[in-house]
């Protein structure tokens, strides 16, 4: 099996990682050479293991999948980087593509599809889940010609659309749980977004965040985008 495709799995959910490792590892011509639970660990293993393909989750502690994409593409250029995420609505699609991801896939794939897409990316194909391709097409169609995609200006904090949406709900007084229900995402994901937004805005808590939203009117920015 000298020419087996060597795969590094990077995902912070150990059960999902084990599930994928078992499925992929059973396939002829595919071998899982390493597993990491965050982007930084993934980057280190990409250096030491030199995988052909890195499957990267997006939302992870320590270093997320987008930053890991940038670093791995920069430092281990022979590795193909494929994002594997839960939602086509996640905010990181354009950043990951700009940083050189070779693929952007949803976790709702069937196992056989994943095997085939891993083989395809090694053949230098770009792999996208249909829902992701659909979102890309839609965003480009709706964007005025020549305008760049969601580029933050250097003078203001670069909140993602999702973070803006969530901070507005925070300002409305909703709890993480209520926001999760409203947006059909988990409470943990809401918590991550709130944490990231607070960090970017250099705020310490939700009350400051609510005051910030009222003062700076994030809603206007959201409304004027896209």
């Amino acid at each position: 099996m000298n020419d087996a495709i060597r795969i590094l799995l990077v995902d912070d959910q150990p059960l999902f990682r084990r599930a994928i490792a078992t499925l992929v590892g059973d396939q002829p011509g595919l071998v899982v050479v390493g597993e990491a639970e965050n982007g930084l660990q993934g980057l280190e293993l990409a250096h030491s293991l030199r995988p052909d393909v890195v499957l990267l989750d997006v939302e992870m502690p320590v270093m997320n999948g987008v930053e890991a994409t940038r670093r791995i593409r920069d430092e281990v250029p022979a590795a193909k980087v494929v994002i594997l995420t839960v939602s086509e609505e996640d905010d990181h699609l354009f950043d990951a593509i700009r940083y050189g991801a070779h693929g952007y896939l949803l976790k709702n794939l069937r196992p056989e599809q994943l095997y085939e897409l891993i083989r395809a990316v090694v053949r230098d194909e770009t792999v996208l889940s249909p829902a992701i391709a659909g979102r890309l097409m839609r965003e480009f169609r709706e964007r005025p010609t020549g305008r760049r995609v969601a580029t933050p200006s250097s003078s203001e904090p670069s909140l993602t659309r999702r973070e803006i949406e969530i901070m507005q709900l925070v300002a409305d007084g909703l709890s993480n749980k209520e926001i999760g229900v409203r947006l059909s995402i988990t409470e943990g994901t809401v918590k991550n977004h709130v944490h990231n937004a607070l960090e970017k805005l250099q705020l310490e808590n939700r009350i400051q965040a609510a005051a910030y939203v009222v003062r700076h009117g994030l809603g206007l920015r959201l409304g004027s985008e896209g």
Binding site: A19, K107, N108
Partner: protein, 132 residues
């Protein structure tokens, strides 16, 4: 396959998770595993009606209480893709008699902490409370 193999049903929304768990668990000869996508309602109804011992459900796919109504004897384990904790639920039937209910409340109140601790690592049929 041993005749007394325990029946495990996996209800998944993400095939990579559900089929992956099935592949892992099929390595255990004491278990029979059926993995079904939650949107395949007919198949799900069939496997649930066949008295599974354990149901593994992907979080958010279905209501725990609904599942245990369909398969009352099963232990339900809820796992998620979001990296949070997993949970085990077990349903005990009580009579409608007030005394039965009050006795159960008192008994469980007295031992909840210990029972919750003890059922996690070993006994599959523990007494984790079912959310209403």
């Amino acid at each position: 396959m041993p005749r007394n193999a325990r029946r495990v049903v996996i209800l998944y929304a993400h095939p990579l998770l559900g089929e992956g768990l099935a592949r892992i668990l099929r390595g255990d000869p004491s278990l029979t595993i059926e993995a079904v996508h939650v949107e395949d309602l007919e198949a799900a109804a069939t496997v649930l009606g066949d008295e599974p011992d354990v149901i593994v459900m992907e979080r958010g796919a279905l209501q725990a209480s609904d599942l245990l109504a369909l398969a009352p004897a099963a232990l339900l384990i809820d796992v998620g893709l979001d990296g949070g904790s997993s949970w085990a639920y077990h349903r005990d039937e009580l009579s409608p008699l007030p005394e039965d209910i009050f006795n159960t409340i008192r008994r469980c109140a007295a031992r909840t902490r210990r029972a919750a601790r003890s059922c996690k690592p070993r006994a599959p049929h523990g007494t984790a409370p079912l959310p209403s």
